[in-house]
Symmetry: C2
Subunit: 157 residues, 2 copies
């Protein structure tokens, strides 16, 4: 059997070559070349999400001036980010040092439920940033959804 | 003058307290409590963007099966991410060890031009993922926009 050949422009070929590690990704965890990449990916998504939650939290607390446009941008980034990290919690990452407690990997049904709860709240954020009052309420609800998972499955390191 | 008091629900207050560092952010770089946070933020955005560019690159190169839905998700994440990192290149971060060459901070007009070039390409990604052929072309163009900046302002460490 002859492998299907793909034709790439020189530019695309050069670019794709820099991601050659993906050729070695296992089918079970095809998005990441190695478990460390999955941890780095999920942590990066949490850093971006946390930064924007911090911006909304500062507005909600009156430590930063309310700025509806900036709040809307942060809300949209948070909504996108909140849907990303979970594929990074692959079983192969359990043995790696991170904030994740071992219990997380043994309770994926519960984790999934908590994730859906978070996503339900972050989905309401973009519509809630029109006024400081509604922003405050929805930032509180989103923070509660964050903590519902952190309290059970995140440890300080 | 009496400082305006803000009323937060107990949940929101608890949540906002975890971002108290923002109270100390300088006006000049109000989104980050310290320069290290800005570096971590921009690097995290690049990690997430790079992961999804890798997924599209793998499809473009035939190393992963073409999946229009997954490609659309990655394209949307990339478009969002490509607009984020730049505020992390604050002048105060120049002295910190990172991939950024010192030249970057002395040529911000050029960097801005390159960023706008990247954003112009990433904005076309979501509409380009409908077929492998158009995906391949636009992944190539986007990768070229990435490299236009990396070649000048990014160093290996």
């Amino acid at each position: 059997m002859i492998a299907r050949r793909t034709v790439l422009s020189p530019t695309a070929a050069l670019f794709a070559a820099s991601f050659a590690a993906f050729a070695f990704a296992s089918p079970a965890n095809a998005q990441f070349a190695k478990p460390e990449d999955a941890v780095k990916y999920r942590q990066s998504a949490f850093v971006v999400m946390g930064s924007h939650m911090g911006r909304l939290g500062a507005m909600a607390q009156g430590k930063a001036p309310f700025d509806a446009e900036a709040a809307r941008h942060s809300a949209q980034v948070i909504e996108t980010m909140a849907r990303l990290p979970w594929e990074g919690f692959a079983p192969a990452t359990e043995s790696l040092d991170s904030h994740a407690r071992p219990e997380l990997f043994r309770n994926m049904d519960d984790v999934k439920r908590l994730i859906e709860g978070l996503n339900a709240e972050t989905a309401k954020l973009p519509a809630a940033v029109g006024s400081l009052e509604t922003l405050r309420t929805q930032v509180g609800a989103t923070g509660q959804a964050c903590r519902a998972c952190h309290d059970k499955y995140r440890r300080k390191i």
